[in-house]
Amino acid sequence: MAEGKILTINMGPHHPATHGVLRLVLELDGETIVKVTPHIGHLHRGIEKIAENMNYQQAIPLTDRLDYTAATLCNEGYCTAVEKLLGIEVPKRAQYIRVIMCELARIMGHHLWIGSHALDIGAMTVVFYTFRDREMIMNMNEEVTGYRLTPSYLRIGGIAKDITPQFIKDLRAFIKWFPTALEGYNTLLTDNIIWRKRTMGIGKISAKDAINYGLTGPSLRGSGIPYDIRKTMPYGSYDDFDFKVPVGDNGDVYDRYLVRMEEFTQSLNIIEQALENLPEGPVNVDNPLISNPDLGSVQEDISALIRRFKIQCQGPEVPVGEVYHSVEGSKGELGFYLVGDGSENPYRMKVRSPCFILVSALEKMMLGHMLADAISVIGSIDIVLGEIDR
């Protein structure tokens, strides 16, 4: 009888390595994990319910609060879903600017991931370097949008405003600087013997299991499946750019680490291409029922003023129909299921959160490992509780 041998411990909700308010009930046999029960919902704000009672434009800032480490990607997911429901196409310049901002957000998300992941395992230095570079992107966000962490930059049918010359100057400096910084992160970790011992062979999941458990994003690609929505179901001009989808072989923590490190380079590559080929033109769709008139004409033209007022208060008129649209978030497939009933409010908005599914697969990845390895598994799937609890 094993009674008295199994030790139950509570990890979280205030544990720093759970990246938020995740509570895990771990059952241990000695130091080996035999059962994992995740408890979520500490950060549940009812974003889906709130969005049902708002118009389509007003729900954009809510989506920033899903994955606040890469907020623009959540804007992208929501706005492209609404645009799919409306059946409109955004102008090319807006699409390219969206790509630039989204890839910057992905780099931001990965910065936070590598910093905190290394910090959890004990490599304290990395976080100082990644936050130094994350700060550069935050400053660029501030330059264009006025906000640093949750920019709410995208609008339905376009973007809030065009990028500035100062932003382009900063971005060029960042593109020039970032490969050096990346080399620094690699030097600190990739061949570090302690890092390799703590991550190789830990949290293994086979390709078949990974699909069956619903893993997406870098966690699925670490197991060797090249499922990247930017490539497989291209949206928003991603098919214009030449980039690779890195995949791993073993599906362990180290491979997921390598995949994300390569994604830094690929994101930078996409930004560079988008900046070089940035087309001229408007940044909002030419449809008076969807996009705001510019502020200049609001000062002079009464009809523009009325139109702006109506769009701000009511949002666009959306047809009856149901769509599912997903984008490649920094953590995986970020999907939005929208039900339009012809009114100005979404009848139902459901967020398909990648982290939510990743946490449900934690048990599969953790069983049989040591307690200390639980930390590296949580770090490797890169969860954000704002997105899990919604």
């Binding site: 979520i40 319910k49 458990y213 499922y227 299921y337 599969k364």
Partner: protein
């Protein structure tokens, strides 16, 4: 494999169990009957040509005054050529839906979430507990008859109504 072919194959196999189909903005939605749901899902997963091996999400929708009241939508992807299929089933109130966790493990938490927030029970689910709300919470917040503000927790209450479990 395009949407028309998928629909043709499904109709050939299940005939009357495919109640309706909608092709909207490039995504195919098939409405299936509740009795045949599990068979159809198993077929969609196991068939070599269709092979929808990734279940991305389970969505519950409340269409309140209408009968049947609820809809459950399954979002499926195939890793062979990255197709998408939405499978919808109409669910009357207090009727259980057969679980698909035995086919896709990824259905586990989404189904729990639908139960928690929408109040649709999945029969055969290994762990049908609340997920986001706390145990003992009364009601299902995403139903359309649940108030946006939620319940008033500051309301005066009568201690004699408390039940000790």
């Amino acid at each position: 494999m395009d949407n028309a072919k998928v629909l043709e194959q499904l109709k050939g196999e299940f005939g009357g169990a495919i109640v309706d189909d909608v092709d909207f903005r490039g995504d195919l939605t098939v409405v299936v009957s509740l009795e045949k749901l599990h068979d159809i899902m198993l077929y969609l997963h196991d068939d070599k040509a269709l092979h929808y091996d990734l279940l991305s999400d389970v969505v519950g929708i409340d269409k309140m005054p209408r009968e049947p009241r609820f809809e459950v939508v399954y979002v499926l992807h195939s890793m062979d050529d990255y197709r998408r299929l939405l499978v919808k089933v109409m669910v009357p109130i207090d009727v259980e839906v057969p679980t698909v966790t035995d086919i896709w493990n990824s259905a586990n938490w989404p189904e729990r979430e639908v139960y928690d927030l929408m109040g649709i029970t999945f029969s055969g689910h290994p762990d049908m507990r609340r997920l986001l709300m706390w145990d003992g919470f009364d009601g299902h917040p995403l139903r359309k008859d649940f108030p946006l503000k939620g319940k008033d927790f500051d309301e005066k209450w009568d201690p004699s109504t408390i039940q000790v479990l």
